[in-house]
């Protein structure tokens, strides 16, 4: 009997040490150093490294951030803006979970990455970009991603012109401590 009550007391004591409500923890990634945590994004585009590091990521302006994720109705927009361009991904969900999210060519053309002035799309059916969220705590997400994209050669009024299908490989993608802004 004593064991059960001691275990219950420890659990309750532990929860009392959490200084934020769940909603506040999700809205404001503060406390436990979360606001001051460094967010990172890194991957290789056809073997060329892309890296982005943001210190004090939780303190970024939710309306103008370098690396973060914002919530809209039914959608979370992940975005990173670095020296080589921007990296985007859309999580089509009401509530982020620690699962794999994929966008494939079957869903239609979609822009995801701009690299040194060239835009990379999911275009043909075999194209994809997959993000796996491995942790979601204190209003921050971490995980991995990979993909196969098609470059946009020229944007035209009616039909865009694309390069070799699936010629852009995204490998070794990692994101850590990326704040989620509501």
């Amino acid at each position: 009997m004593k064991f059960y009550f001691v275990a219950a007391a420890i659990c309750l004591l532990f929860s009392s040490c959490l200084k934020q409500s769940i909603a506040d923890a999700m809205l404001h990634p503060k406390g436990s150093g979360a606001a001051g945590a460094t967010a990172t994004l890194s991957y290789e585009l056809n073997g060329n490294p892309v890296k982005l590091t943001v210190a004090n990521a939780g303190n970024q302006d939710p309306n103008a951030y370098t690396l973060g994720c914002t919530k809209s109705p039914g959608l979370y927009s992940f975005s990173g803006l670095g020296s080589t361009g921007e990296t985007n991904f859309l999580f089509y969900t009401d509530s982020l979970a620690t699962i794999k999210y994929s966008y494939t060519g079957n869903y239609g053309d979609m822009f995801f990455i701009s690299y040194n002035g060239q835009d990379e799309f999911v275009h043909v059916a075999s194209d994809f970009l997959s993000f796996t969220i491995t942790s979601y705590n204190n209003g921050r997400i971490s995980g991995t991603f990979s993909g196969q994209l098609t470059p946009l050669i020229s944007a035209n009024t009616i039909n865009n012109t694309y390069g070799a299908p699936g010629s852009i490989l995204i490998t070794n993608g990692v994101f850590e401590n990326v704040p989620v802004f509501y």
Binding site: M1, Q20, S21, D94, N138
Partner: protein
């Protein structure tokens, strides 16, 4: 997946002759001063495992409305818990204590952000509770007056509340004294 779990729970509680409780509850801790008194309802069943003690299974819904922003804002949590209820005099009646642990099947906090936009924050999380109560009969009907402290932990935060409730409890396996 949640629909399947809820369906299984309804079937489970129906088979085990559970009944419902209504209670009043109050969120406590940081960021809770804007919340009104909450309402809770749960169904619960128990399996006698020893002299004056039961393993309990409980599924419930807890609703807390915010004072501001209108009645649409607030918090809802649906925990499923397993507990160990132990009556102090080992008779199955009188005062008891009951630690519980479980999982929050569904939780959502609806509010408005600084820009006035409606935001729904959905979460799950683990649940811990510690309760005490008094089992008694009125007109041959068993009742349970109870008080418990419960916490739901998710995303590095926690929702904590104190609940006071009254219910009639029916055990799956009958004891000599019907508890």
């Amino acid at each position: 997946m949640n629909k399947g779990i809820f369906a299984a729970l309804i079937l489970f509680f129906a088979v085990t002759e559970s009944n419902a409780q209504l209670g009043a509850m109050k969120l406590v801790g940081n960021d809770t001063r804007d919340y009104k008194l909450g309402l809770g309802a749960f169904i619960k069943t128990g399996f006698p495992v020893g002299e004056g003690s039961d393993i309990t299974v409980e599924g419930g819904v807890n609703i807390f409305f915010l004072d501001s922003y209108g009645s649409a804002d607030g918090t809802i949590m649906c925990p499923l818990k397993i507990g160990y209820r132990y009556t102090l005099n080992k008779t199955g009646q009188g005062f008891y204590v009951e630690p519980q642990a479980g999982y929050n099947l569904y939780g959502v906090t609806s509010l408005h952000d600084e820009s006035g936009n409606a935001v729904d924050l959905k979460y799950h999380g683990v649940v811990f509770a510690a309760g005490t109560g008094y089992l008694f009969t009125i007109g041959g009907q068993p009742f349970d007056l109870n008080l418990r402290y419960e916490t739901v932990i998710a995303h590095g935060g926690s929702n904590n509340f104190i609940a006071l409730g009254l219910s009639r409890f029916i055990s799956f396996k009958k004891r000599d004294n019907n508890y």
